[in-house]
Structures are given as C-alpha cells and as structure tokens.
Symmetry: C3
Subunit: 336 residues, 3 copies
C-alpha cells in the first residue's frame, strides 16, 4: 500500500513556527505556544481578557461576539476539566460548540488527523481547540487548516499549554500589576510539564526580573540551560525572596518509579507548607493549575490560605480563553 | 499525610436541614428534599410549573428566564433519563448547560467533591444539579456553595429525589385538583426508594387524607412507623378505596436475592393487573416513575390503560424542573 | 410473563411505506428512504438545501427556522461522524439538540424502543434522528410517533441511509446540473450498503440515464436484478463512459473472511487509481461517503485529485440535513 504512505510533511514535527501564529499584520491567527510571541501580543491577550472578566460577573454572562461560529473541541487526550473551560468560554461568546473525543490510536495521526480536520472544515468549522498527547500536534493541524480557520493549542505532549500559561500571567498581573520587578519560582516536574515551558517563555517575554525552576535533577529537562531560568535543587534557597510561586501538578502515576521518590519523600523536599512559605516574600502569591494533590504538592493550609490565588486562576482561565478565541477570530474587543 | 486529612465537616452527613433550603425570606434557595418544606412552598412550585406547562406547548418552546446562566449537571451516578429531563428544562429556560459525568470513586467524595464544586464556582456556575449514590451528597454540596449558587438534588442514595416527588404531586393535582380527600397508596420497594420517601413527605405536607405503603416486610425501612403512613402487606386490602396508586420501580438486580422472591412471585403478590385494580376506586389514578418493567411491577394493560398517567408524569417532569430551577434562582414567574 | 409479550405490530418489519413519509398534501413528514418518493419531492429537498448553502457561508451561520424546537439524536448504533453532521445542522437551524447514545441490546427493541420514544414525546421532542443496526427501525418508530413528530432515518441496518444519498444527489446536481444525461457507477460492497440502496433509488427517480453497480459477485445482493441497475463484475468495462463514480466504504472488519479477498487483492480489482480512472469520461466526478481507506477503495491521488468532490459532499451534507429537517417540520424556505 505504498499509495497510502504518509508524506514527510504530515508527520508531527518539532515545531518552529512563531510566524505560523501571526498573520501578515502581526495579529494572532492561531494560539499554539507562548514561545516567540511579542510582549505586545501577550499584553493584548491579557487586556482583552480583562474586558471579558466583567462579562462573567453580569447577570447575563453572554456576549454575541462569536454568534453563529462553530468551534470544535478536538480532544485526542481526555480532559474533562480543560474541555469544560473551553466549552464554557465558547458558549459565553455565543458560539456553537461541538466536542469530539477521539481515541489516540495509530489511526489518530498524520493523514487520519488531516482527514478529520478537512471534514470538519468542510462542515464550516471556524476553530479547532486541540489537545493531543503528541508534541507538535496543534502546530501540525495549524499548518494544514484553511485560511479562515483558527487553531488553539489546549495542550500537546510535553510541548506547550499556552492558555494555561496565559491565565497564570493574567492572574499574576491582576495581583502584582506588572512583571519587571518579579522573581517567580516554578516548582515540580519541569521535565514532563508542557505548562512549565509555556510559563517560562511567557515570563521572559513579559520581562520578569528572574525566573527560577526548583526541582530534583531527575525532573529537569536536558535543555534547561537554554530556557533562561535559574535552577535550584533546594526548595529553601530557591524560594528566597520570590514574589510568585507556581507549583506544577505531579502526575501520581509517575511516583515511586525510577525517576521519583515516594510521595512522602517528595512532599518532604518539594512540597509547600506554611513553614517553607516563610522563605519567600511575605506577600508571595501561590499558584497551582489544579487539581491539587493536597499533601503532595502542598498542604491544605497553603492551598486554601491567604497567599493562594488558585481559584482566581480558574476564573481567569475562562476570560483568557474567551480572549484568545476572540482575538484569533479577528475580533479585538468585547462586542466586536 | 495528616495535612490532607479531611475535616469532619466535609464528610457526607445525615441531612437535617430544612433551613438550608430556604433563604431568610423563606424562599426556596436549594431544592434538596421535600421533607420539612411548607405547604406554601410546595404549592408555589406547582403553580410555577403550571405556568411553564403552556410554554412547552408553544411553537417556540423557550423562555429567556435563565439566559446567560450556567447550569452544571453534576452526575456522580449515571442516569441518561434524568439528566435529559434536566438538560431539556435548562435549555427551555435558555440557560447554558454543561453535563459532567463523574465516576464515583474514592476520589469523588469529601474534599475532592468540594474541589470540583469550587472550581466550577470559580468558572461562574450558577446552579448544580447533583445526582450521587450516597445519601446526603446534595446537602453536603449545598452547605458549601457560594451564596449565589443553587443546588438541586436529582437523587441521592436512598435519601431523596424531590423533583420526582413534586412532578408526581403536580400530576396528582392536575388530575384530582386537590389532596385533602385523597387516599394514596405507594407500592413496592419502599426500603431502597429515595422517591418513596420524598413522596411520603410531600403527600403529608400537602394534606393527603391517607398515605399507605404496600410492600413485603423485607422491603420496608425500619423507621417506617415514623413516616406517617399506613402499612399494608397485602395488595388487595391496601388498594381498597384508594384514589391514587404510585408504583415504585423495582431494581431487577435486587431480584432473586435474600430480600426478594423471583420476579414471577413478586408480580403475583404486588404486580398490578386490571383485575387487582378493581379493588381501588373506579377512577383511580395509576402512576410510575418509569421506565416500567412490564410484567413485573404492572402488566401492559394497566401501564397503557385509561387509569395510567405515566406519560403525563414525564411531561410534568419538565415543567416541575423548570419551576424549581427558576424559583431557586430567585425568579418566580415565566419571563421573570 | 405473557403480559409483556410484544404484539406483532411492535416488531421491526420490512418497510413498505412510501405513504408513511408523506402527509395528505403529499408533503414530506418523515424522511426514511428515497424509495417511492417522487422526483418533485427529491428536487424540493435539493432546492431547499441550495438555499441553506448560502447560510453556511455567512459570518453568522445560523437561521431561526427551528428555534425552540427539540431535536433528539437517537443513536442505537454509534457514529460520531454522522451524529456531528446532524447536530451541526440542527444548531444552525437554532434548534435545541439532545444526543442519546443507546446501547443496542435486547432491551433496545420493540416495546422498549417505543417506551423511549413515548417518553421523549412526552418531553415534547419534535424530531427523532434515528440510527439503528436493524433494518426497518426508523420506519417502526415513524409508524408509532405522535402526529406532530418527524422521524429522520440516519441509517438503518442494510436498508437505507437517505440523507447520505440525497447529499450525493445534491453534489451531483451542483457539478453536472442535471441527471438525465448521466451514467453513474456505484462501486464496492453493494450487499451490505444501505447507502447504495438509497442512491440507486434516488438516481432512478431523478431520471439518471444509466445506473451501474460494479462489485465482486459475493458482494451483490440477491435482489440486485430488481433494483434497476446494470451489473458489472469488471471495473474497467464498468467504468467505460461513466460521468459519476460513487465509491462505497469498505468495512475493513469484513475483509479476509469468506466473502472477501485481502485488502490488497480488493484494491487490485476494485480500487480506484488514476490509471483506471482513464476508462471513465475525462470529466468524471469521483465521490465517496468517507472516511476513506486510502489504498483500499482508492489511492490518495484519486481521493485528493481534481475529479474528487469528496469534501464538497461533506459540505453539502450539512445543507441537505438542514433541508430535510426544515421540510419535515413543515417549513419550506430559509427563515420560514
């Protein structure tokens, strides 16, 4: 069956495509990664999200910005939580939403993914929100969609999760007002985290004073030196004088294996407690993408304590997703 | 991991919370159980449902009462049928609906349920429709939600299923006009039935002349004497002179075990036939929550016969759910 | 349990019911099969679909034709693809859509299906889109629904798939303008194909000059002679001078069994290549219902080549489904 062999261009490649995300006027067309975007673009996303924040507090939490548009949630990797946030964001923009959970099998790659995309485009889909366990999947789809279709990356392999990163940036900005004076520490499994990569890029683009990662050596990526971060193996020294702590979620199924100590040991070394929090600045902001494993990444007193903005992150996630959907579809204001 | 230990307040408790359902003005804020509510509140629910009944007969079966509201179906126990009725009710009120099926595992309890609730609240959910296999789950959630959020119990363990009970009351009122002259018999597995409990409370609150339960001894709860009912072990004497018969659904998986005879024996003793119906009043009304096991709870001639209002119950179920959603959200009229 | 025995009328029967589809004025009330419909009815479906085609190109792809109507996707056989097209069509008509996937078990037949239907009717459903693995299921349901309810067959067993056939006819008309000069060849597993039957009826009703089927003998139905087609066992002679080629999808799970050669052998004999295409007319149109097994039914060069209208078929499928939904609900124009 040589006729069905995939051409090289249809395999998922390591993405290198800042230009892919922007149109000729430099406006956001897809949202695939924070890497390579300008400070202006990230700032505009947050500004539009700010305007949508008020919408969600209205009695009628709905604006007609994307009325009559068809948004397809294309989830090759299951995530009720993330799918729900995108579905809510789309509905509040008055779009029609179709959610497709597609088992990631041999079939869900290359040509087969393109067939799915082309079929949905033929049904006049306007946007794909893509989640896939393979790095580069959203880029691959973005390279092949029709000119009027936008792609939003809702998490691809270990590569990127840019809407999560931007809701974190938006949350930081709402609490701290700006970035240039901030020391931010990201703690946990950097190696496997698509969120961490997107956060690091965004923080550097927005001009954070210092970005630190705190993790055991086994959970650091080999290219950590090229990411523009300071690396700490010790929580206490890493937390010294920081303004913002971003905890990563620990995949429990990875615990106890070769790479990782037991949950108990991990918590001893890298789990956040009220006592360890004292090493950071008094007004340190604590973030976590959820869902939290209390007693593993942090104890309940920190998670639910006065420094935590974890639930604000969730609220801001809706606004950020509304903003990204609106901007990539060519609108740049509420009601536009 | 003492830090993650659940505080006592987050375990599901036996509910004792008539005040929990009402706000300071005595208006319905959650709808968790019929127990402890006043005749006025139950009557108002039926009056509002009456106004919605006309909506469903219009060409455009939609009112903008809850436009821009976000209703979350939170189903820890699967039920396509019940979920569909709530989803339809919500859509006819123009609300946005998100349906989440959450596997009931060790994780779906206590703190973990609260985390889910807090996350959905942070996304500006306005209402939770909760179904759970544990008694008290909806009460537990109602005790912990934000002030603006309403909870509707769509069935919790063996405890309560108040919207089913109220659609039954509404159906009785539409057929018989009032309650004070009515003798009502509830037949079947009282022990395991959350519906029966909610019905018994509602009938007594609404002033029914007599409430009977007809069941084998093994299917009676130990506190049956405190429920305000007359108990019959024999169908014929139990049916004597009754105005309304409410059949309960028999869980077939319980059949043939220690508690229950075979389906055939059950039908012989407690199954409803046209012949047995003659013991009741000539204009007796026959009800069943569906889906019916024909030949077990009743034969087809009764289920589809002139005394049956089983399909009216389904129709009234949409109106009752629209009414309860509207009232708990602080509206009390169509178009309000 | 003789009381629950199904009466003869509730078993699925071989359908013979052209009158079932039309009301007394001869207008479409259900859409179950193309068989027995008039040229005028099929032409009207295509004319209305033509008007909806422009809707899908608008910025706001939505018309209020079915606002406030409740459409239930009743899928006893799973098909994400087909369900999605009906769901999109319904949403673009502003209807409320409920999708129910019902496992086809012993329970999902006869009385049990009727109970489901009656319950959904009691909830004021206006339309059922039915897919079922048993031939005759949609007819069975149509014979039992309430007068105001419409049924659309989304595929029943080996019997019919009329919306697929009509989107194919619509696609042919858009490319070739009319039917009376056309020679059309249908290639593949005619025996198991509900699509082929519906296409053959539609082509003959619309006056196609010649309808051919090309298939191995083992994949021809025994009544093929009564269908009004010319049968070819050889691809090359069958393709001679044809204007339109309709490929059928090959169920891979049937491959390699008693009936069928290997995928490789099948492709050798009946797979479409650019070389074999040369036997047909130069401007031959190539169609396939999707999803394509590249290298089995046709090679990629044909599927993605200039003669292929496979993606137009998908686009036209939305318009046809909008048209059929609108017509069966008693409307006959956009905005009506």
């Amino acid at each position: 069956m040589s006729s069905s062999k995939q051409p090289a261009s249809t395999s998922f490649k390591a993405p290198d495509s800042s230009c892919l995300q922007l149109d000729e006027q430099g406006r956001l067309r897809h949202f695939l990664t924070t890497e390579g975007l300008s400070k202006d673009v990230l700032t505009e996303i947050m500004d539009v999200a700010e305007s949508f924040s008020t919408v969600s507090n209205q009695a009628v939490k709905k604006v007609p910005v994307l009325r009559g548009k068809t948004i397809v949630n294309l989830f090759f990797e299951n995530s009720t939580r993330t799918r729900t946030t995108f579905e809510l964001a789309a509905k509040r923009l008055s779009a029609d939403v179709i959610s497709l959970n597609i088992a990631t099998s041999a079939a869900a790659k290359g040509e087969s993914v393109l067939d799915t995309i082309r079929n949905l485009e033929a049904m006049h889909a306007d946007m794909f929100v893509v989640r896939h366990s393979d790095s580069g999947a959203a880029h691959f789809i973005a390279r092949h969609v029709a000119p009027h279709v936008s792609v939003i990356n809702a998490g691809d392999g270990r590569h990127a999760h840019p809407t999560q990163a931007m809701l974190d940036m938006f949350t930081i900005r709402r609490v701290k007002n700006e970035f240039t004076n901030l020391k931010v520490a990201i703690i946990g499994d950097i190696l496997h985290s698509r969120v961490a990569r997107s956060q690091i890029h965004a923080l550097n683009i927005l001009g954070a004073k210092e970005v630190r990662v705190i993790a055991p050596k086994t959970l650091l990526p080999s290219d950590v030196d090229s990411l523009g971060v300071h690396v700490y193996g010790d929580l206490r020294s890493g937390l010294n004088d920081v303004d913002v702590i971003i905890m990563l979620r620990l995949q429990r199924e990875r615990m106890g294996g070769a790479m990782l100590p037991s949950e108990h040991e991990y918590f001893e070394c890298f789990g956040l407690t009220q006592a360890k929090l004292a090493y950071a600045k008094p007004d340190v902001t604590v973030m976590h993408p959820g869902p939290i494993n209390r007693g593993v990444e942090m104890d309940a007193a920190v998670a639910d304590g006065p420094n935590s903005v974890i639930l604000q992150q969730v609220t801001n996630g809706i606004a950020i997703r509304m903003a990204v959907m609106t901007l990539t579809m060519g609108h740049n204001r509420v009601g536009g």
